[in-house]
Amino acid sequence: MNVLIVEDERQLSHEIEIFLTKQGYQCDVAFTGKSASEKIYVNSYDFVLLDIGLPDYNGFNLLREAKQSGKESAFIIVTARGSTDDKITGLDLGADDYLSKPFSLLELQARMQAILRRKHGLKNNTIEINGFVLDIQNRTVSFKNNPINLTKKEFDILHYMALHKNRVITRVQLTEHIWGDVLEEDYESNYIDVHIKNLRKKLSVYGNTDFIETVRGIGYRLNMA
């Protein structure tokens, strides 16, 4: 998978590059709109991570040009302005998704995987963990065809941990994922812990839930072969 990171903040593009490379992506970076335009024209990328606020170029124009030249790349636009107008404009121009700064790298990866699933039209869209089957399409969980009644947030948490299996996810990362869009009071709450507790309780009726591991002082990890 080839990714082009278009970001004028070098430190930021560097961190994204480190992360995505570790996840097995081939990364290319462009610090200006001009070089991004050239790279998109010459190479073929699976993903273009595009910062809308480039100093030399309007990110939307870049997106428009790429779309007009028939590039197949999936575009995820990134903005620090965070206005809904930008979001609508970007999606109207054919962007596949939208992230506001600051965003979690895990969130970025989850969005990329969701785009891939959409693009390849995966019908059989399930993840299996220790006998528990997650149906991503219908957002349900079952164990040996017994449906398990989870709340939306509980499903989201389980799904997110499954996407990032075998790595520790901090409470902050989980909070940002399930409450990220909401500007509410708490900056630190135990909601996540309660969610996990309930999740374990509901799943343990059917099978062993040891695969959900608590990493003391840090967060949670879903262990999966």
């Binding site: 903040e9 430190q11 930021l12 961190e15 994204i16 480190i18 992360f19 570790k22 606020g53 620090a80 302005r81 965070g82 206005s83 809904t84 107008d85 700064k101 600051p102 965003f103 979690s104 790298l105 895990l106 709340t151 939306k152 947030k153 509980e154 790595r167 520790v168 901090t170 409470r171 902050v172 990362q173 909070t175 940002e176 909401v182 500007l183 509410e184 009071e185 708490d186 900056y187 630190e188 709450s189 909601y191 309660v194 969610h195 309930n198 003391r216 002082g217 840090i218 967060g219």
Partner: protein, 443 residues
């Protein structure tokens, strides 16, 4: 009261005063003038009589008068009488004029009477010359009536003209009010077209409004630019830090103790990021950077919010009682803002509630408003704190330790943006109720 009505009203009062004044003064003036004329005539006649007496003697006149009086004085309009006086009057040689009733031919008639005393043949006489007043008084009455009607008509016409004139004069002012004051809600939508008027004051007013709005607009633009700059310059470094922390945490060689500390930093960073995002959010709403171009069914949005908070309700075992009596569709609103506003209110109702508490959500129409009430059975807010709950960064309750005190300021900003009135009442240890009043015309 409208200026035009006021001006017309004052004018009418003034005109009415004129009518009353004329009504009172006119009869007096007319009477004076008439008496003046009669008196002059009486003097002239008296002088003429005296001449006749000097030339022809008194006896002739008396004789003449007596024989011809009846024939010439059928209407008792005039009379002359000469009678001897037995004493010297105080005003000898001077004429005195008075209104008096005189009996002429057995009929009492009101006269204007001039009396003059004179010496003839060493005998004192008094001559009285009278002129009847009945015709004159009738004439007076007619003139009075006529003039009064004339004045009333003139006043009415002038009042009408005044009204039209006032309307004409105030027309540019009305246009300033309707075009510039009533319809403009935001400096960005302000049109600086000048209102055409030859009245200096209105032109000055119009110009002042224009200048003010342009100043406000530039302040808005500066704020907008500031928001964009802050967004970029603060959120970008936060973004870098956040991603770097994530990369550090994913390093499996990182010692556990160090990882725990880094996770703490991640929490602090989240706090910083949330505060900045919340402040930017408030500024953006106040700067009108959100569009109000959606319709939303309030019940749907409210129930969506409750659904979204399902887990927290379950966690605290809180029961929600929903009662929705009338439908209410919000026009020209921003759905996501309304959602955020209700989310913050309902999530507060959960957060500050007791275990196994209750939340009452009621939507109903009250007169011109739609009332949405969110009532909890929670810890309540003390009376001293109640006026300050919408202030930024105010935290009163022990449960607030983990919050940054911007939840309710966001609620208020969104409510103001949509012209929604908020009332809060609270009883300590018993619960809080937020009442939102939505008006039918939101924009």
């Amino acid at each position: 009261m409208k200026l035009q009505v006021k001006l017309t009203f004052y004018n009418a009062i003034f005109q009415a005063l004129i009518v009353i004044a004329i009504g009172i003064l006119l009869p007096i003036i007319i009477q004076r003038v008439v008496y003046n004329h009669i008196d002059k005539r009486l003097h002239a006649r008296a002088d003429k009589m005296m001449k006749i007496i000097e030339l022809g003697g008194l006896d002739d006149i008396i004789k003449d008068q007596e024989c011809s009086f009846d024939q010439y004085n059928i209407f008792k309009e005039e009379y002359v009488s000469i009678s001897p006086l037995s004493f010297m009057p105080q005003n000898f040689g001077k004429d005195s004029i008075e209104n008096a009733e005189r009996n002429i031919e057995n009929e009492v008639v009101k006269h204007r009477v001039l009396s003059r005393s004179f010496l003839y043949d060493n005998q004192l006489y008094q001559i009285e010359i009278g002129e009847g007043l009945s015709t004159v008084e009738q004439l007076n009455h007619t003139i009075n009536k006529f003039t009064l009607w004339m004045v009333v008509i003139i006043v009415l016409i002038s009042a009408l003209m005044n009204m039209t004139l006032v309307q004409l004069l105030l027309e540019p002012f009305n246009r300033i009010v309707t075009k510039k004051l009533k319809t403009i809600h935001h400096p960005a939508t302000f049109v600086e077209d000048r209102i055409r008027t030859s009245t200096y004051e209105f032109s000055y007013l119009d110009q002042s409004i224009n200048e003010m709005m342009i100043k406000i607009r530039s302040a808005f633009d500066i704020e907008r630019e500031f928001i964009t700059n802050v967004s970029h310059e603060l959120l970008t470094p936060i973004s870098i830090l956040q991603n770097r922390i994530e990369n550090i945490l994913s390093d499996s060689s990182l010692p556990h103790d160090a990882a725990v500390k880094i996770v703490e930093s991640q929490k602090t960073l989240l706090r910083l990021s949330k505060v900045i995002r919340a402040l930017l959010y408030i500024s953006k709403i106040e700067n009108e950077q959100f569009l109000k171009n959606e319709n939303a069914d309030l019940q749907t949005v409210t129930y969506e919010v409750i659904d979204e908070l399902e887990d927290r309700l379950l966690q605290k075992d809180i029961k929600v009682h929903k009662e929705w009596r009338n439908d209410f569709e919000m026009n020209k609103c921003n759905k996501s803002l309304i959602h955020t506003m209700l989310f913050n209110l309902v999530s507060n109702a959960i957060k500050y509630n007791k275990e196994k508490g209750e939340i009452f959500i009621t939507g109903k129409r009250i007169d011109d408003y739609f009332l949405l009430s969110i009532k909890d059975t929670g810890i309540g807010i003390s009376e001293d704190h109640l006026p300050h709950i919408f202030d930024r960064f105010k935290r009163f309750r022990p449960e607030d330790e983990m919050s940054y005190g911007l939840g309710l300021p966001i609620v208020r900003t969104i409510a103001n943006f949509h012209h929604i009135r908020i009332e809060v009442s609270s009883v300590l240890n018993s619960g809080t109720e937020f009442r939102l009043f939505f008006s039918d015309t939101i924009s």
